[in-house]
Symmetry: none
Subunit: 231 residues, 2 copies
Amino acid sequence: MTAKKVLIIDDESSIREMIAIALEMAGYEYLEAENIQQGHEIVVDHRPDLILVDWMMPGGSGIELTRRLKKDATTAEIPVIMLTAKSEEDNKIQGLEVGADDYITKPFSPRELVARLKAVLRRATPQGVDEPIEIDNLVLDPISQRVTIGTRPLDMGPTEYRLLKFLMTHQERAYSRAQLLDQVWGGNVYVEERTVDVHIRRLRKAIGSTHDYLIQTVRGTGYRFSAQRSL
Amino acid sequence: MTAKKVLIIDDESSIREMIAIALEMAGYEYLEAENIQQGHEIVVDHRPDLILVDWMMPGGSGIELTRRLKKDATTAEIPVIMLTAKSEEDNKIQGLEVGADDYITKPFSPRELVARLKAVLRRATPQGVDEPIEIDNLVLDPISQRVTIGTRPLDMGPTEYRLLKFLMTHQERAYSRAQLLDQVWGGNVYVEERTVDVHIRRLRKAIGSTHDYLIQTVRGTGYRFSAQRSL
DNA sequence: TGACATTGTCACAACTTTGCCACATAACCT
DNA sequence: AGGTTATGTGGCAAAGTTGTGACAATGTCA
């Protein structure tokens, strides 16, 4: 396995240094961005596997950056850990709401940092490189975030896209509605299970009748993506 | 699947009642403990699948109980949801730090409760990894939840699938109808024994005449799955 | 702001599965 | 053989699951 890249966005050089040492010892690759304005570009350029953002940043807040990252579909899946000072405890909630995956309260030990980081990475989808996935002429390209059949581009909403992507990356496997909600919507959303059906329907519609056999119903359970026709 | 047991620890009987109704409707089993002092013992005794704890408890805090539960290795994995009043928002953080898995702010709707509860349970229950079972060209794959002979996928209902799965994982062994009802239907359903025969028949039909010798009748007893043809 | 797209829910329609019955067949026994 | 019991079969009504269109709420974008 290649070393995971961790991007640090923090203005305090002493903290950056401490983190750098901790990461190196734990076998991670280290990227840094001093200035939050550069944050977004650096993320897009280097595609880190995880980002550490300091909450307290002069001239702009880490929370703003996090929000921006989580909104952008190309960076949304990169996990973010926020660093907050003890006195800013209340902000944790705000941080989590904006989409941060975890937070660490300063001061923290290098060991704690690495432990949290491991946990978050473990939870994060172990997706490989962003290779396009092609099955039976249906192509999903994660870079351009586009789905095509032959030359025809398909029109679908972000949720349908994520759902399809998940199913395609895990083809030949049956998932319950609950599991799909977990994986596609995210663990702690409050959404009816039947909503999954509706999105499946929209997906099938978008894909069209020539290929809708790819998305199969597993009665009593949920759904499955499979190139093998079921009947 | 057996009903999940949910333990409620709260002093307000009106809330307990509301929760009880919501749980019942959603198909959960309901346990209650009025007094926090009893909390720990009840947990150890009944091993609930999830615990709801009110933050506000006279004479002792729910947080204390939660901490105790999460410290004890035998109860640590049981998920805990805390109930907090709006004004106690700041306590959420403390709750999460103590190890609570989620929190709900009062007032909350029954639906919200059930949804959160589902989400937490979903996260807490991991899936085992099952290997496909292959016998005489008949393959049952628990991952895709599909049964195939060669390349042909078989069409059967969920009950037939479970029945077949059970028989295949216990091949060469005869089971009575009662045992099958127990294992495949679940312990406490009331179903006629002859119903098993009907499902066996459907199974044989689904498998087709080329392979129906695999499911054998054991006269006076029940049925058996065996790759070895009996006379 | 207003048009437009997306999302989650619902109510109802369409379809499957299930359990049971009644009767047909088969196996077993004396 | 004839009687007796056990199992196979087709069909059916009820229950359960999934498909579908419409709607309101919300978010997005120029």
